[in-house]
């Protein structure tokens, strides 16, 4: 591995993701080349076979996620990496992973869209694609790092959530965070908390592949086990056989949502900067957090009480957190490399406080001045 042992390393965001994936115990990667995520696949192709795992470059993103799901059902931790156009192709299998309950991690290093857009340039325009990218009612977990250190830490967390909840988990990078180099602290192996999916203990007579436990998650049985198991992307009963009964479908889909929704508070990760006395609150995630921090420092120098809420968990959306943290603020600023996707979600829960977006397209970073200009203009009003 690039970082054979613990210590401080100077790494690219994408590489930190790869290093963390292997430390999480990932043994399978299937993907299709796409910028700005390619380093994650290249890293896997070099380091997975050495770790005893398997890398394969598939014919497209549809088959990449299909292979990841197939691998996951043998009990192996599996992941893929892509960018917006690839994620559009993966949409079909995001739903499949939800429905068969295959733990897996999907990394999307966001770039400017729509369509091919600006192939190598960063964006944050896939915020809603993470949540609603596949059809049908479902719930999703999406985490987003704002530094290379967080790339490492949240990759570990993404695998842990995937294993715990038996669901696909997104890691929402962007072209800036993925391509950026920073110093990272890599902990000792035994200091990294790694979660493995709960295995089913049952007799052949009693075993039902989709019988949920008390946390609404069915304990796992891998293909190859003497307990025969079934994975089914169609509506199914707890036995894994198809079932189109209305009541059964209602129960199944509600369980798939509730198994995540019930633990929303634990899943909701975030960082706060000077929110205790903030009159102006900046809510950000990913790359937009960096200029926000610089702008906050500058504003505080000038006596303006600015604080930041950085969302590390985008989905499930932290409604209660937004409601409580915005209650004290007089003004909310939302910098994003999109035309206000996060902003529209915040508006729903912030007690009709004024919410101003600082939005940029073109694949260029938001600058601290962009935020300060809007800040000064708004306070003068």
């Amino acid at each position: 591995m690039i970082c054979p042992k613990e210590g401080r390393y100077f790494l690219q965001g994408n590489i930190a993701v790869g290093e963390a994936a292997i430390r999480s115990g990932a043994m399978f990667f299937a993907g299709y080349p796409i910028t700005p995520s390619s380093e994650i696949a290249e890293h896997a192709s070099i380091h997975l076979p050495i770790a005893g795992g398997t890398f394969i470059q598939m014919e497209d993103e549809i088959s990449s996620l299909a292979a990841v799901i197939g691998a996951s059902m043998t009990g192996v931790k599996a992941y893929t990496a892509t960018s917006g156009p690839g994620m559009s192709l993966m949409s079909e299998h995001i739903g499949l992973a939800c429905m068969v309950e295959a733990p897996c991690v999907i990394i999307n290093v966001q770039r400017a869209g729509p369509s091919t857009g600006l192939a190598t340039k960063p964006a944050q325009g896939d915020f809603f694609q993470f949540r609603y990218g596949t059809h049908g009612d479902h719930m999703i977990i999406a985490l987003s790092p704002a530094s290379v250190q967080e790339c490492f830490d949240l990759t570990i967390q993404a695998f842990n959530f995937a294993e715990r909840f038996r669901c696909p988990v997104f890691l929402a990078l962007d072209g800036i965070i993925g391509k950026m180099y920073e110093t990272v602290n890599i902990p000792k192996r035994n200091e990294i908390k790694v979660v493995n999916r709960k295995k089913a203990i049952a007799s052949k007579v009693d075993y039902q592949p989709y019988q949920p436990d008390e946390h609404l998650v069915p304990p796992f049985v891998p293909f190859g086990s003497p307990l025969i198991t079934r994975a089914n992307g169609s509506g199914h009963g707890i036995d894994g056989y198809p079932c189109d009964d209305a009541k059964n479908h209602e129960q199944l889909v509600r369980r798939l949502i509730n198994k995540i929704d019930r633990y929303k508070k634990e899943i909701s990760l975030f960082k706060e900067y000077y929110t205790h006395d903030a009159e102006v609150l900046i809510v950000s995630y990913g790359c937009s957090t960096r200029p926000a921090i610089a702008a906050m420092k500058e504003a505080r120098k000038r006596g303006i009480k600015v604080g930041i809420l950085q969302l590390q968990t985008l989905w499930p959306f932290p409604e209660e957190l937004i409601a409580s943290i915005t209650s004290k603020a007089k003004l909310i600023l939302v910098p994003e490399l999109s035309l206000g996707q996060l902003k529209s979600e915040i508006i729903k829960y912030c007690h009709q406080k004024p919410v101003i977006g600082i939005n940029k397209l073109g694949g260029v970073s938001i600058q601290p001045e962009d935020i300060l200009t809007v800040l000064f203009r708004e306070i003068e009003k």
């Binding site: 043994m27 399978f28 299937a30 076979p49 050495i50 005893g52 398997t54 394969i56 598939m58 014919e59 497209d60 549809i62 088959s63 299909a66 292979a67 990841v68 799901i69 197939g70 691998a71 996951s72 059902m73 043998t74 009990g75 192996v76 599996a78 079909e92 299998h93 499949l96 068969v100 891998p222 293909f223 190859g224 086990s225 003497p226 025969i228 198991t229 079934r230 994975a231 089914n232 992307g233 169609s234 894994g240 056989y241 198809p242």
Partner: protein, 272 residues
């Protein structure tokens, strides 16, 4: 060898959901018998299906199963096999599933010689959705979406898979169930590489009805009369070959499958 295939069949789910006269039951029986002939253990088998009539086959199996998305069974099977090479992975695909929407996965899996067995039930149309044309529907034939006669030509799937590099490719028809079993059995015995069995089937409910052959008996008889084994090809006048269905082994080569190659690669890079 006489086998019932019973230990792989979920008998309480019978009868099959397929229409009367459908060829899928014949293929299913041949598949489970071939499994038994080779003493496969239920726990070692994963049957991966897509969506379509033949994609319902997993409902009747007592092996591990994965019922996934339309056209992607081979891609799912690839992940399963590579993550656990000890498993015997079967992908059961139809013509719509396997070569129309999923054609790209089929040729790439063949090229890579992924160590799985693909059994394609080819009945020339989409039965589940009402009999529309697929990538194997013959020129001029009538389907729900080619009422005036189909304007396109069909894929010769076995030739295509052979050209893509598969180690084992064979075609047979449901008119000869014993041959289906034999070919699947041979594919199992080969142990590695991509193995592809194309079974020409019938859909009396849709394709037959649209093309004035509504009885299954009539359609099987027609298949039987039009079947020519590669071995006997010399006895047929070239002008008569157009209408014939070639059966037999299109390809039977010893190849090194992906799993073995990748394992060799891993060994070669292990730190000494």
């Amino acid at each position: 060898m006489k086998c019932s295939g019973r230990k792989y069949i979920k008998t309480e789910s019978l009868p099959f959901f397929w229409c009367s006269g459908c060829g899928n039951g014949i293929i299913f029986a041949a598949l489970t018998r071939a499994m038994e002939e080779n003493n496969l253990d239920n726990k070692d088998i994963v049957a991966v299906t897509g969506i379509g009539c033949w994609g319902k086959a997993d409902d009747y199996l007592t092996t591990h199963t994965f019922h996934g998305t339309h056209g992607r069974a081979i891609a799912v099977a690839t992940g399963i096999k590579l993550a656990n090479p000890l498993l015997k992975v079967f992908a059961l695909v139809g013509d719509g599933d396997g070569i129309t929407i999923g054609g790209n996965h089929l040729i790439h899996a063949a090229r890579r010689n992924i160590d799985i067995i693909v059994i394609m039930s080819n009945n020339f149309n989409y039965g589940m959705t009402g009999g529309q044309y697929s990538g194997t529907t013959p020129f001029n034939s009538i389907t729900a979406t080619s009422s005036y006669g189909h304007v396109e030509d069909a894929f010769d799937v076995s030739s295509l898979v052979k050209s893509a590099g598969a180690g084992y490719v064979a075609r047979c028809t449901i008119a000869n169930p014993h041959m289906i079993q034999q070919l699947i059995s041979k594919a199992i015995k080969k142990r590695q590489g991509f193995r592809f069995i194309e079974v020409i089937s019938i859909c009396p409910t849709h394709y037959g009805k649209y093309n004035q052959m509504s009885s299954a008996v009539e359609m099987i008889k027609d298949l039987s009369e039009r079947t020519v084994n590669f071995k006997d090809i010399d006895q047929i006048a070239p002008e008569d070959l157009g209408n014939k269905i070639m059966v037999g082994e299109y390809q039977n080569q010893e190849v090194e499958g992906f799993v073995h190659r990748y394992q060799r690669l891993k060994q070669s890079i292990l730190p000494t």
